[in-house]
């Protein structure tokens, strides 16, 4: 393994082993057996469904309650917010899906009072869409552009560099003008 290439991204010189860039597990973690009530967010793809079924079995074995969050991806945030409003302390969150769904669910979970140890995720589609926030107009764009790639901002139209810096609170990668230094 070429350690230098592994550590240093070509564009930014950013350390790639220790950034805020999330490394969502691509295998399904077991649910927290200590939890009493698990909110489940799962994408429509087969792998996510399989994870949901496996978590359901684990919940049953642990005599815990599993509450599926039945919402389309855009509505997941609002549904979770409502479910968390009056939730008991034993509540946990399980998410299986692409990065866009995970980012939404995690941000809504944190805003609703969960903390990172209360949340378990399974990234089932690493090639799927990811959210990027434009630091200039603050619109969030969902794109399949990989980290370090360039996509157009859905808000202001500028070309954004998808930077390896992720905010769980916002639920998005940092995006900034990719060609600011070349502007006239």
């Amino acid at each position: 393994m070429n350690a230098v290439a592994e550590i240093t991204a070509p564009f930014s010189g950013t350390c790639r082993l220790h950034t805020s860039e999330p490394r969502w597990p691509t295998t399904r973690p077991p649910l927290d057996a200590a939890g009493g009530r698990h909110l489940l967010v799962a994408g429509p793809d087969l792998a996510s469904t399989q994870s949901a079924i496996a978590w359901q079995a684990e919940a049953t074995a642990a005599s815990a309650k599993l509450v599926p969050v039945l919402a389309d991806a855009p509505a997941v945030g609002a549904s979770l917010a409502e479910l968390l409003q009056d939730a008991p302390v034993s509540t946990r969150l399980l998410v299986a899906g692409d990065e866009a769904l995970i980012a939404r669910a995690v941000a809504a979970g944190l805003a609703g009072g969960l903390r990172p140890p209360d949340i378990r995720v399974h990234l089932t589609d690493p090639a799927g869409p990811r959210p990027v926030q434009c630091v200039h107009c603050r619109a969030i764009t969902e794109t399949t552009t990989p980290v370090d790639g360039i996509c157009a901002c859905s808000g202001c139209g500028v070309l954004l560099l998808v930077f390896p810096h992720f905010s769980r609170r916002i639920g998005a990668y940092l995006g900034f003008h990719a060609e600011a230094e070349e502007l006239a």
């Binding site: 550590i7 240093t8 930014s12 010189g13 950013t14 350390c15 082993l17 220790h18 950034t19 805020s20 860039e21 944190l110 903390r115 990172p116 140890p117 926030q133 630091v135 200039h136 603050r138 500028v158 930077f163 390896p164 810096h165 992720f166 905010s167 769980r168 609170r169 916002i170 940092l174 900034f176 003008h177 600011a180 230094e181 070349e182 502007l183 006239a184």
Partner: protein, 333 residues
């Protein structure tokens, strides 16, 4: 070359009190913390005897902060659980500003009631600690109308520090609006090298053990083209092109050595860690008035490894800086 400055030259305070950051001919990231306040002697004079510093740019920088916040209020953000920490910060900063400027400020604290007068900017106000409605803005934003420092407040929980409030209008290429809510290790994620060296976990451990009895400080530095306080990531499309367009003859007047004096303070009631960032800038034409500074700045910038020069945003024009400093040093010898 003489190593002392003739006191009769009467250099302005922006030079004599400039926190020149280079203590060696090379620069690497380190925790470089030391107890504060503590006077630091430089080749031009000294700094560091107070925590809250007022300089000739006071009114201009407060007015610039006001302009930035009007344009982008998201540069000041207080997550709900940080209200107590902000009140701690208000009291700490007013007390320190009063200690540094006893003749121009008056502070009276009677229980929860505070009377504050600041002749530097013509403020006279009575407010109640814990009652934000007694201030003309949210407390953190209001505090930013009294001091030049940018202010970050970190909550300590779950074995880590969390950047949960901040008023940052003068950032060196980062965004408080994006980074708020992140852990200490997360918001330092983009900094190269420090992770391999274990600097950041050690620094976080250090901060988590701070007590209210002893403040600490460190310095950080970069170069900025023009005296532009707001080189935020938000404004990158405004200032980024200067890195490409800079010419050799513009280097002495436009390139500034930008130094952040960062104070690290445990606040007493909230237990939050306050991170003050005070930015000072000096154009290279003034830096080189001090011969030691000219040589040292040249050596550090010439030697800086590419990844660090890239992170600091100077890789595109540092050859011009070194070329100009070399020319200056040749002429001066």
């Amino acid at each position: 070359m003489s190593s002392t400055i003739d006191p009769s030259t009467a250099l302005p305070a922006r030079i004599t009190r400039f926190p020149f950051p280079f203590v060696r001919d090379t620069y690497r990231y380190s925790a470089n913390v030391q107890a504060a306040p503590a006077p630091e002697v430089t080749a031009a004079g000294g700094w560091g005897d107070v925590i809250v510093e007022v300089d000739e740019h006071y009114l201009a920088e407060l007015s610039e902060r006001d302009r930035i916040l009007t344009h982008d209020p998201a540069r000041s953000i207080t997550l709900p659980h940080m209200a107590e920490a902000v009140w701690d910060a208000v009291l700490f900063m007013l007390q320190e500003l009063h200690a540094a400027q006893p003749d121009l400020t008056r502070l009276r604290i009677d229980g929860d009631r505070v009377h504050w007068e600041n002749d530097l900017c013509g403020t006279s106000i009575d407010f109640v600690i814990g009652d934000a409605s007694t201030l003309p803005a949210d407390p953190l934003t209001w505090l930013g109308t009294q001091v030049q420092e940018d202010i970050c407040l970190l909550d300590q929980r779950e074995g880590a520090l969390w950047l949960d409030a901040g008023l940052v209008t003068f950032p060196a290429d980062w965004s408080i609006a994006f980074d708020v809510g992140m852990s200490f290790l997360e918001f330092h994620g983009p900094v190269p090298r420090v992770h391999e060296a274990g600097v950041m976990p050690a620094a976080e451990q250090f901060l988590m053990r701070l007590t209210p009895e002893q403040a600490y400080r460190r310095t950080n530095w970069t170069l900025t083209i023009d005296r532009r306080m707001d080189v935020s990531t938000e404004e990158y499309p405004v200032w980024g092109r200067d890195r490409r367009l800079l010419t050799l003859d513009e280097v002495p007047s436009r390139v500034h050595l930008r130094v952040e004096v960062q104070h690290l303070i445990r606040l007493p009631v909230s237990g939050a860690v306050m991170f003050l960032i005070r930015t000072s800038m000096l154009p290279l034409e003034e830096v080189v008035l001090i011969p030691e500074w000219a040589q040292r700045t040249r050596d550090v910038i010439a030697e800086l490894p590419d990844d660090m020069a890239d992170y600091k945003g100077i890789i595109r024009y540092r050859h011009l800086v070194v070329q100009w400093l070399d020319g200056h040093l040749a002429r001066a010898s």
